[in-house]
Symmetry: C2
Subunit: 579 residues, 2 copies
Amino acid sequence: MSHYQTPLADVEFLLNQVLQAPQRLAALPAFQDTDAALMHQVLDEAGKFVNDHIAPLNQEGDRVGARFKDGRVTLPPGFKSAYQAFWQAGWASLSTAIEDGGQGLPAVLDSVLYEWLSAANHGWTMAPGLLHGAYECIKHHASEALQAQFLSKVGTGEWLATMCLTEPQAGSDLGLARTKATPVAGDTRDGEFWLNGTKIFISGGEHDLSDNIVHLVLARLPEAPPGPKGLSLFLVPKFYADGRRSAVHCDRIEEKMGIHGSPTCVMRFEDAQGWLVGEAGKGLHAMFVMMNAARLHVALQGVGLLDAAWQKADAYARERRQMRAPQAAGVQSGSADFIIEHPAIQRILDTQRAWIDGGRVLAYETGLALDEAKHHPDPARRESAQRWCALITPILKSACTEQGFKGASECLQVLGGHGYVREWGLEQHVRDARIAMIYEGTNEIQAIDLLMRKVLGDGGTALQALLDELSAPLRAAHSEEARVLRLFEQLRGVTQAALAVQGRADGAIRLNWIAGDYLRLAALALLAWAWSRIDAAVAVADAQRWQAPSQALRHWVLPEADMRASMIHAHFETRWLSA
Amino acid sequence: MSHYQTPLADVEFLLNQVLQAPQRLAALPAFQDTDAALMHQVLDEAGKFVNDHIAPLNQEGDRVGARFKDGRVTLPPGFKSAYQAFWQAGWASLSTAIEDGGQGLPAVLDSVLYEWLSAANHGWTMAPGLLHGAYECIKHHASEALQAQFLSKVGTGEWLATMCLTEPQAGSDLGLARTKATPVAGDTRDGEFWLNGTKIFISGGEHDLSDNIVHLVLARLPEAPPGPKGLSLFLVPKFYADGRRSAVHCDRIEEKMGIHGSPTCVMRFEDAQGWLVGEAGKGLHAMFVMMNAARLHVALQGVGLLDAAWQKADAYARERRQMRAPQAAGVQSGSADFIIEHPAIQRILDTQRAWIDGGRVLAYETGLALDEAKHHPDPARRESAQRWCALITPILKSACTEQGFKGASECLQVLGGHGYVREWGLEQHVRDARIAMIYEGTNEIQAIDLLMRKVLGDGGTALQALLDELSAPLRAAHSEEARVLRLFEQLRGVTQAALAVQGRADGAIRLNWIAGDYLRLAALALLAWAWSRIDAAVAVADAQRWQAPSQALRHWVLPEADMRASMIHAHFETRWLSA
């Protein structure tokens, strides 16, 4: 098999020609020196690092997997040295602030880097994947004393970090968490606590990649109220400053469908000494500060893994000959044609490209919006960027991870039996991609978050404002743009219907039944919008590269929008068994 | 985790109340003693055997997998003794003719048995899965001398069998096969040949389950023309009658995504002595005689694995509490509800049940049609049954295996992170189910077979006749039946459009682009038909069991039909890049 190759030219076209990223970033005081040349330099180096150091470890990482013995976890061959090279070269700190030892570069570059890393080696990438969230969490919520010890270590990636949230009885519902935090001094004022409890599904809870591991742990203070408001956040390192090992034990690692290179740990806290991060009872608040960025990264895992699967399927389809393809011109050569000539295969490949390229536009736009929401001098632009992030992130997380899995499975189909065996690495992408539909909030929870909170929470106002903003430059006389306008109208229509249903006695349950359809409709409308931007930017010379997926989108992807809209309307109008 | 439990009551309801199987079988002279009591006895015993002997081996079979060492293959713990118990108890020969040592029972009972076996342990079931095809092939095409040696050994399952078709360069396109057969005596008259070549993806090519293995091998005689018409079929056993080991070598087994309990072998034939089966140049014909039955079994793997996944997801959803569900009545109890109360979860479970139950009706009807096509005294009924098999089999194979994989993945989602780890066994079902979309003709090839050969091959006549037959008893005034009639009209409409396109210069390529959509539309129409039969048979007492999936079908599954129909029509009408 061939390894994944970072698609620098495609990504630069989307960033530069479609999204005008260099100009938009240069308008932000924090990034005023950013231009296309600087971005090229960073991405070119990033691509080389990913291709040379990370991609080659992927298949053996899957085969060997993380190993557990006597509480210690060993990662697959090459993982540790690749990680050391990664943080030392500054890739872990690409968007970390300069004063914390980082490069201070835009979040959108971090987005591209994590897409590529995930595509090249999802298992390995789980390790640094939580760093940025932990860094922001410590930066915004930890005391000065904690920051002095941990901020730059985590910000640079010298020490890796975990998020210890899930417990056996508390998965999607963190409010059920029971891990206890008891004040060492008898009261909470000095911020020092003993932690007791068991956390499960902790990615990178134990490993041999870095000298220390910083655990961020949700736990409950004595007398804390039940539910999410009783949760506080604590920091417990694997090693304290004086070299002592903390009482945080890895009891086992999970056997999983995929991401075998990432140890998923059961972590036991047994009178483990730790410190409060942020205010008591505001643990979820402190963790959720980085939710949009984390969910964007998960969406990019979907995009990246789909591209990795596509690269293999495309290469295979261009070298494998089976049977005659129906040729429009009736010309046949040899006894069998390359399978890419067969419409069923071409359709699979073009359709996945439509999702990859459109998903990239939406994801990089979100990366830019994260930068603008933080750094734009105009408060109105910050607000508009923030609105984009709030609305688009759950859509992207759900739609891109679903397509990551299903589309990788389609790419597997291109290889037939050769896709099902390990040799080409296709089946690994399918297994790896499956987790992204679950973690960082299941896709079902994303759908409920979008419809019930982000859209209906303000009576549809933010969504209307977003659609108005996106619609403004679109021309009804232009056939592709008119298609986008129609999809936006469809989305406005179901939103109005949802608002009307919301007030009914059975409103909440009705809306929950169709939240997934609503998200799909929104995703398709945005995908169409993204492709209308691509189409507008494509020069005649590159037409062939972009025309086929654009056509596949219109023919095989967007028709689902009508189906979703009519399912939603029909559901609202029908007598329903459980309502 | 809990093992799969054979769903005897559900299956008996479908066979007895929905399909009137006992009466229909008793009308066939071969099965005149068949009644519901006999069928119950067989299925009850079959269920116990599957539950007690096969299901418990599934998870360890996946973990340990088939092992290769020095040309020998060892199957996972318990596989051999289970197989010996299986054939000795007569399960392998359920539908084998009595004169060949079998039970002589109807094919439809074999269908149920293989659904249950696949659900319980797909990897193990691969071993006997090819027996029946090999038996029929030997019975109908082998010489008397070969039959004397091999027919009852294969018919009873004492010896297992393989189908050696695929070669590295010849997968879906068997016409590219190069394995050579050279007459031992210098000419072909005594039927004895030396075989030379390499076959890949040979399920059960080597193992320790049975005393002998009978290989059926596609190969090319000297001077044979290129392509499929140059292929002949040969029989080569692992051991000859005098105890000699043949020159058939297993060079390695594949590492695969799933079905780890089934060894997928690379087989090297090195001057291996074998015999011609059937006529020279008619190898594909001899192998394809059992194609409908084999494809039906693959469809039932999809149905079975989806039911196995559903059982686990349903059990989990009834014991796992997370968050409050939106209650229509506004009543809340405790701090979290069972997740089956959450609409997103209920929708997944009900939708999969709609596919499982509807898929069963279609598959068992096909099993009955196989019996009727073979045994019905009325030639018109035999012809109608044969028509059903020819048209429905590719639809079932494709639609049920696709849903087997995608639906099992949906069931995995119900368990969240617990679905992604191995403990509950859900992820194994997803991995195992994936292969059924590929083998026995990829789903893309099924779609082309359906549209280009089965439907358009006779100008749509057979399809029209089938739809007329199914429509006849349906009442337009009955809302559910009217829905089925509408779907049939939609199918007739796209068929007419396809016939019109067929004559165009770009006809073949156009039709190839939408063959998959055509198959989906047909599958949905048939699923609706199956459910209209279920709905009509459900007694008031059982309403609750069947009402929710029936409703899920109407709301969340059937709307896809409109989408497929309009995609097809739109494609025919649009200018197309590649056409």
